[in-house]
């Protein structure tokens, strides 16, 4: 009996590995496809060759490809896809972590003010006319704005060394509304050109992303992802509730704060290179929970892969529908995500509660 149980546990782990392998392969395929496809079609073997040439150690083994393809693949499409991968992974993992911290499958980083704070930061940068100095100005303002909003939310909900989840949610709503009001206020005072610039940012997109964006985001996002994945076992305990977690010796408040801030900062980094992209953090963890189960040690890495896959898929689809025009990825994720989200809500209602 016990032996069969062990095998079954072993089976779960094998299953999770298999799923992650499949996701990785799919991700690589969609990356190669996304880079090859476009107004200028690059044969996929050329795409692979160009990528190979940029990988140290093995770069000598690939045939040379013409310069136009080189420029399109490496300077235009490659950074775009990489930003997509980073942002998707960041949103997927942060979403899963937030849902765990709040014990609610409908939570996402936006709920504690990350997105509204970032928007406020961005609109401030635009209003002050600072965006022309450097492409880093707006991301930095967005990051500062979202961290400020999250700090305000957490600070407002702290009482006697505790952070009650319900208070946290409500302060998140309040802070988001405040940030939204401030953003709208500034927008009404801005000239049309600047409003357009803000609008371009607020509807998240991956177009015109350059290597600078990749360099800006890669280190913080990777650190965030690694830290969150390392804390996955602790998150498993936290999900059972504050009292349960405390009784097995989890430093609940410290852990919750750490998870909130790392997830928020990771999301903020993503938002500041891509603008606000909805629904990835909401539906990706939810689908992965159905496929690999709630154990966060499997859920978080597979949500990273699935988030990246989903975002690059949406971006590619957005480019393919009306070429040469593009549908921005923030719109695509919402178009695909909103119906699923509604379906989720209805299902939750029918089953009489959140499961």
């Amino acid at each position: 009996m016990r032996e069969t149980m062990r095998k079954k546990t072993q089976g779960n782990r094998d299953k999770a590995w298999k799923i992650m392998m499949v996701l990785s392969i799919l991700l690589l395929c969609i990356i190669v496809f996304s880079i090859s496809w476009g107004t200028i079609r690059v044969p996929w073997e050329d795409t692979l060759a160009i990528i190979g040439q940029h990988v140290p150690m093995i770069n000598g083994y690939f045939p040379s490809v013409n310069a136009e393809f080189q420029a399109v693949v490496w300077n235009i499409r490659m950074p775009r896809v990489l930003v997509g991968v980073l942002v998707g992974a960041a949103l997927g993992v942060s979403g899963a972590v937030m849902q765990g911290v709040f014990g609610n499958p409908l939570a996402d980083p936006g709920i504690i003010g990350v997105s509204s704070g970032a928007s406020f930061g961005a609109v401030t940068a635009i209003a002050l006319g600072l965006t022309s100095y450097s492409i880093f100005v707006m991301p930095m303002f967005a990051l500062a704005g979202s961290l400020a909003a999250v700090s305000a939310t957490v600070f407002l909900s702290m009482s006697r060394g505790k952070i009650p989840v319900m208070t946290l949610l409500l302060s998140g709503v309040a802070v988001s509304m405040l940030m939204g009001a401030l953003t709208s206020g500034i927008l009404t005072l801005m000239n049309e050109y600047r409003v357009r610039e803000y609008l371009f940012w607020v509807v998240g997109g991956l177009d015109y992303r350059r290597w600078e964006h990749v360099y800006l985001a890669v280190v913080p996002i990777l650190i965030g992802l690694i830290v969150l994945c390392l804390l996955a076992r602790h998150l498993n305990v936290l999900v059972l509730g504050e009292q349960e977690a405390r009784s097995v010796g989890v430093p609940v408040v410290a852990l919750r704060l750490l998870l909130l801030f790392v997830a928020a900062a990771t999301t903020a980094m993503a938002v500041c290179v891509s603008g606000t992209i909805g629904f990835v953090g909401l539906i990706v963890p939810h689908i992965m929970r159905i496929i690999v189960g709630p154990e966060h040690r499997w859920l978080l890495p597979s949500s990273a892969l699935a988030g990246a896959l989903f975002l690059v898929f949406c971006d590619t689809l957005g480019r393919m529908i009306f070429p040469p025009n593009e549908i921005r990825v923030g719109i695509m994720t919402a178009l695909l995500g909103a119906p699923y989200f509604l379906y989720l809500l209805r299902k939750t209602q029918q089953s009489g509660g959140i499961s």
Binding site: M1, R2, M5, R6, K8, T9, N12, G100, G103, P105, L230, R233, H234, N236, V237, V239, L240, G241, Q243, E244, R246, S247, V248, G249, V250, P251, R289, G293, P294, E295, R297, I354, S355
Partner: protein, 420 residues
């Protein structure tokens, strides 16, 4: 002297302005199975939380194996005390095994994963509580009983010398309630100390080795169940009228609760009941609940009526087993009869041993004879009892009625009037 494992010294707890617990002092030794009982809002759960160090103390301290609990780290505490809360919401489809494994948290460094040994421990305790077969089943799909056994396995997997349970049986069927208590008893017999907040007094009295009774934010009794569950304590804690007795059939402490009729004008009237063979039980009960002062006689030891008398702590004249009522008892019986305001003669069956009861009835000032069965069927003395009985019921101070009529008369407070 066994070793003290956990103690509260003059502990008080205040939430905001409200005093929750005041001046609690108790010392618990290893291997005890302690039940914390008391009415709703008495602070039972809070006491458990305080002993675990989950709520700040307004005064006093809690000592865990001699050390103030505030000096222990989160994980150290979790290696000493396992705590099972009332209601755990296991969401997201976590399986039983995953939940039980969280009990191993205090033994792992933050970067470590559960080792094979931890899994073996989890499986062992799941086997103990009988949920091994459900290891891979999501907990939110389980029945209440299964879920509580999974959580109990989790608490056990923590392998602590102390185990606290806050009303683990609150939402369970009777079978599962008993089961949880039985597991706890077994655990305490293995040397662990178990503290349980319990709602069900009978279960607590049956299984626990010691009870703490809380009421109105303080502890009003502490000791073995038979010392704590008493008529007086229940009255003080719950404002409840109750008879506490040893149930001879089950061998357990039993509690009979009733709504007392405090307005009965005939309360404290002295009534003597002549009964035996179970014919008096219901009379005893209805009169006792209405506050009459009862004496009984003469009954054979071990008789159902004698047990009823014991349950209500009544003074009861006992004869010798399997022999006629002796002179001493007969005399005492007549003395009690003359001391009583009125006397009830139950629907007795007469034989050689108890015929004196019928004779004694003649001396009553006011006599109520309960007759549910004709005397012809109750005479085992070839007419002797019939003859006496017929004579008795013709006496002027005697009223004859069935038991239902008796109840009606009682309710209308007509009884003394019947025969005046």
């Amino acid at each position: 002297m066994t070793q003290e494992i956990i103690a509260a010294c003059n502990t008080s707890i205040v939430f905001g302005e409200k005093k929750i617990l005041e001046n609690i002092t108790c010392s618990i030794s290893a291997g005890e199975f302690v039940g914390i009982i008391g009415p709703n809002g008495a602070g039972k759960s809070t006491l458990l939380l305080a002993l675990r160090g989950f709520v700040p103390l307004a005064a006093g301290e809690v000592l865990l194996a001699g050390r103030p609990i505030t000096t222990l780290s989160d994980k150290e505490l979790a290696r000493q005390v396992a705590y099972m809360q009332q209601e755990v919401n296991v969401g997201f489809g976590f399986t039983a095994l995953e939940v039980v494994l969280t009990g191993r948290y205090p033994y792992l460094k933050w970067w470590q994963h559960e080792q094979a040994e931890d899994k073996a421990i989890a499986h062992r305790y799941m086997e103990f509580t009988g949920v091994e077969a459900l290891a891979e089943k999501p907990v939110h799909l389980m029945s209440g009983g299964e879920k509580q056994r999974v959580l109990l396995a989790k608490v056990l997997a923590q392998e602590t010398p102390l185990i606290f349970l806050d009303e683990p049986t609150a939402s369970l069927d009777l079978v599962y309630q008993e089961e949880i208590f039985r597991y706890c008893q077994l655990i305490s017999q293995q040397g662990k100390t178990v503290l349980i907040v319990a709602h069900d007094l009978k279960l607590a009295a049956k299984f626990c080795s010691r009870l703490l009774l809380l009421a109105e934010n303080t502890m009003i009794a502490d000791g073995p169940p038979e010392k704590v569950i008493t008529k007086e304590n229940l009255q003080a804690a719950y404002g409840l009228h109750a008879a506490v007795f040893m149930n001879k059939v089950t061998g357990n402490l039993d509690i009979h609760t009733y709504a007392a009729d405090d307005d009965n004008p005939n309360k404290d009237t002295k009534v003597h009941i002549i009964c035996g063979g179970g014919s008096g039980e219901k009379i005893i009960r209805v009169l006792y609940e209405r506050g009459y002062r009862l004496t009984l006689g003469v009954i054979q030891p071990g008789d159902a009526d004698a047990n009823a008398a014991e349950a209500f702590h009544l003074s009861c004249l006992l004869g010798q087993p399997f022999s006629s009522i002796d002179e001493l008892a007969a005399e005492e019986n007549r003395r009690k009869i003359s001391a009583a305001d009125w006397v009830v003669l139950s629907d007795l069956t007469y034989g050689e041993q108890n015929i004196d009861n019928l004779q004694a009835a003649f001396t009553a000032k006011n006599l109520i004879v309960i007759e549910d069965t004709p005397i012809e069927k109750r005479d085992f003395l070839e007419g002797k009892a019939i003859e006496l009985y017929t004579k008795l019921v013709k006496m002027p101070q005697v009223a004859v009625m069935t038991f239902p009529q008796f109840i009606t008369s009682l309710e209308k407070n007509m009884l003394p009037a019947v025969h005046r």
